[in-house]
């Protein structure tokens, strides 16, 4: 009896000793190895933030998707359990058909993906959860699904280059996706937990979790509806004129916020690989063109601001100007005329603009344009912005020092042109255009990017005078088609020769920039068309401006105008100065405007 107990005790001691050896001392690191085997570390990918328009419509969203992979070395006939409990043998050929059905792929593509001796190969990328679930029901042990994210852009190429796109490795490659990447991206998290042999998580085991910091949502000032009107209108016009490209900028005059940046063709961010290289950027931002006559507004504003003229100042304009060896003509033939400043701008006369503008010296002409931001980037939150070219005044040649007054020999983006008009329409206060309204972090805190400081580039009275002349362009001048029924509208046409890639010029750049309603301008629309085909007098975009502006005014419920705009005489024939010739026209003088005049 006692011997038996002793034996038992010894055995017990042995067991306890072994237990202590394993559990307490663990010289071979079994516990660690076991923990490592049980522990699973999973990366928790941060969800990329959404991009929405000003009304909250989603422009870019992140969706759950799966990448389907295969271990090619394990592809053999397998017995898989079916739903009724029985098992079924699936040969690789059968598997190919089943996978192809589940994923909606062609049999040959699936076969190609399964054939080989790689342990890791993609079968399909970015399949929907629905397709993935169908695939999972096949219970094929050599097929794996890896959760991943896919960006979805519901509007497609509508504003596509503004929204931007991601590359194959989720690298932000264009538009807002690129410039706001740090906000949108977020920070990946990590989860550690223990699983049992059958893959179920052990509930009582310790687990650590570092939550992912999801990306912030970015709200743009872009309005999808306005973007659509604008894009549809410029595409229609560009198609009719067989233009190389066209753009439209719609802007809120009071804030400088961009409501639409329309392109005639742009990338569909859902399939950026199919887009042409020139469609990847926003042309209103990346393309610098000679602005042409729209620049006369900058010249006029500068002359008004410096007290050189008033809208009703009379200037005798010969049929052409001869300055040394340079001849400057107008787009239409006319005899010598006595025009008002409003009449010169109304019919877009190069000659009159040069007579008026040349009262500013060369450096002042340069500084006037630079003051409006010509030659500088606006700093809008879009990649690849072109600064345009404004050469220093001392590098201008004999012709350029006059042509810059009507927008030739200088280049700028359509957005910069719009920005000049924004300053004029906003009582002389220029606010650089922006497109990001706010950024909302994952925890709900909203931050608004600091808006650029308004810059008074023009006196309020000079701005008002410029607006009056712009309205006259539509009511009495050469842009009557720009009118919008019910509203007072003002603007300026532009036609410039487009520089050819091989030197010289080929084709035109036509444009119209306008604002409305004139009693208190709220919206600005700038349309530009590059190399439209056809006669120069028929390739304008004034009607396109009218279409877009009318939609914008209705869309934002702007009350129709109840007042009448100012009326200027375009010509005063009886006061013509007979002694003015093409050679001496620049020397003519006129009475300096009194303070009262310039207020009017």
């Amino acid at each position: 009896m006692q011997v038996g107990i002793a034996v038992l005790l010894v055995l017990l001691l042995l067991v306890v000793g072994k237990l202590f050896w394993i559990q307490g001392l663990d010289p071979s690191g079994r516990a660690e190895a076991a923990a490592a085997q049980r522990t699973l570390v999973e990366s928790i990918p941060a969800v990329r933030g959404e991009i929405t328009d000003s009304r909250g419509a989603v422009l870019a969203r992140t969706l759950q998707r799966y990448d389907i992979t295969v271990d090619q070395t394990a592809v053999t006939s397998v017995d898989v359990p079916s739903t009724d409990g029985s098992t079924q043998t699936v040969t690789p050929t059968q598997a190919v058909y089943k996978i192809a059905d589940a994923l909606g792929m062609s049999d040959t593509d699936v076969k190609k993906a399964l054939d080989g001796d790689k342990t890791f190969n993609y079968v399909a990328r970015g399949v929907t959860p629905e397709q993935y679930n169908k695939l999972r029901e096949l219970n094929l042990p050599y097929i794996y699904g890896q959760p991943t994210f896919q960006r979805s852009y519901p509007n497609g190429s509508l504003g596509g280059s503004v929204v931007g796109f991601l590359g194959g490795d989720s690298q932000a490659l264009g538009g807002i996706e690129q410039t706001q990447d740090s906000a949108l991206r977020g920070t990946d998290g990590e989860r550690r937990f223990e699983i049992s042999g059958d893959g179920v998580r052990i509930p009582v085991a310790p687990q650590e979790q570092k939550a992912a910091q999801n990306g912030s949502d970015v709200q743009l000032s872009l309005d999808s509806d306005v973007q659509f009107f604008a894009e549809q209108a410029v595409r229609e016009r560009a198609k009719a004129l067989k233009a190389e490209w066209g753009t439209a900028v719609v802007m809120d005059v009071k804030t400088g916020k961009v409501l639409a940046l329309a392109d005639t063709s742009s990338v569909d961010p859902n399939a950026p690989g199919e887009a042409k290289a020139e469609d990847l950027g926003v042309r209103a931002v990346t393309q610098s063109v000679e602005p042409g006559s729209t620049e006369k507004i900058a010249t006029l504003a500068g002359a008004l601001d410096r007290g050189i003229v008033t809208p009703s100042t009379q200037i005798t304009v010969p049929s052409y100007l001869q300055i040394g060896s340079e001849k400057i003509t107008d787009a239409f033939d006319h005899p010598a005329q006595n025009r008002t400043v409003a009449g010169i701008i109304g019919d877009s006369m190069n000659t009159g603009t040069v007579i008026m503008g040349s009262k500013m010296d060369k450096q002042t002409r340069h500084d006037n344009l630079a003051n409006f931001g010509v030659g500088q980037a606006t700093g809008i939150e879009l990649p690849g912005e072109s600064t345009g070219i404004l050469a220093p005044a001392d590098q201008w040649d004999a012709r350029q020092e006059y042509t810059v007054l009507f927008g030739q020999g200088v280049s700028q983006t359509p957005l910069r042109t719009a920005s000049i008009f924004q300053a004029v329409a906003n009582k002389g206060r220029q606010i650089e255009p922006r497109i990001v309204n706010s950024v909302t972090a994952a925890d709900g805190t909203v931050s608004t990017p600091q808006s650029p400081e308004p810059k008074q580039v023009l006196s309020e009275s000079a701005a008002q005078d410029t607006l009056d002349v712009m309205e006259n362009v539509v009511t009495q001048g050469g842009a009557k088609e720009a009118a919008v029924p019910g509203y007072r509208v003002g603007g300026k046409t532009g036609t410039a020769e487009a520089p050819s890639d091989s030197g010289g010029y080929d084709g035109y750049t036509t444009s119209f920039v306008g604002v409305a309603p004139m009693e208190d301008p709220q919206y600005l629309v700038a349309v530009t068309m590059q190399r439209p085909q056809g006669d120069v007098h028929t390739v304008g975009v004034t009607s396109t401006f009218s279409t877009i502006m009318s939609q914008v005014l209705h869309h934002y419920n702007v009350a129709p105008s109840t007042t009448e705009g100012p009326k200027f005489d375009m010509q005063v024939p009886e006061n013509i100065k007979r002694d003015v010739t093409p050679e001496n026209a620049l020397e003519q003088t006129w009475p300096e405007p009194s303070r009262d005049d310039s207020q009017g």
Binding site: E130, P154, N155, G156, S157
Partner: protein
């Protein structure tokens, strides 16, 4: 009870006088009746109860775990379905798709929007009746969204519209050509196949 006590005390006083109380002694412990067998049974039962308890607890935890997994799966499935539906809604509400469908329904853009000055009650801008026109050719293509049936349907519809438009244009051109041919045939060619040269009138 009190009456019984009274009877007893009266009996004692009537009898043989005070009797000496017997000294109390410790009653010897009675031998335990419980057998070894019952102890073992008790232990076994306790052990079994504990085991069953643990088992039930374990089963419950496992059950809970499975339920959790199932519910998580369900939640995932629902959120994925939600996501897919949201994608469909967004595809359908993309401006170009809305405009195209409005076109299909024969809708046209409003001409002039009327407005009323509330202060004076006057019509400050008269509205105009929309005019029936040719369907607008929507030039903004639908999005190439992946994994959305609605987007797929919109793309197909756009393709069909484009085909129809191309066919109509081709028909129109054929009709024009035929009309021109007819006019040509009607012309008097004086038996030849080429029209006689016409002279430009002076002054034109």
């Amino acid at each position: 009870m009190s009456s019984a006590a009274t009877t007893a005390s009266s009996g004692a006083s009537e009898g043989h006088g005070p009797e000496r109380r017997r000294p109390l002694s410790v009653v010897p412990h009675r031998a335990s009746r419980r057998s070894r067998v019952s102890t073992v049974v008790m232990c076994a039962l306790a052990l079994a109860a504990a085991l069953v308890g643990i088992l039930v607890l374990n089963i419950q935890i496992t059950q809970g775990q499975y339920e959790l997994t199932e519910l998580t799966g369900q939640q995932r499935a629902l959120s994925q379905e939600n996501e897919a539906l949201t994608q469909d809604i967004e595809a359908n509400s993309a401006p170009q798709n809305l405009a195209a469908r409005a076109n299909d329904l024969g809708m046209v853009s409003a001409k002039d929007v009327g407005s009323i000055d509330i202060a004076s009650g006057a019509v400050s801008a008269p509205s105009a009746v929309a005019e029936k026109g040719d369907p607008q050719n929507i030039l903004v293509p639908p999005a190439k969204l992946k994994g959305s049936d609605a987007a797929e349907a919109n793309r197909r519809a756009a393709e069909e519209r484009a085909e129809k438009r191309a066919k109509e244009e081709a028909d129109k051109k054929t009709a024009e050509r035929e009309a021109a041919q007819k006019a040509d045939n009607a012309r008097d060619l004086n038996g030849g196949s080429l029209p006689a040269p016409s002279q430009r009138a002076p002054g034109n």
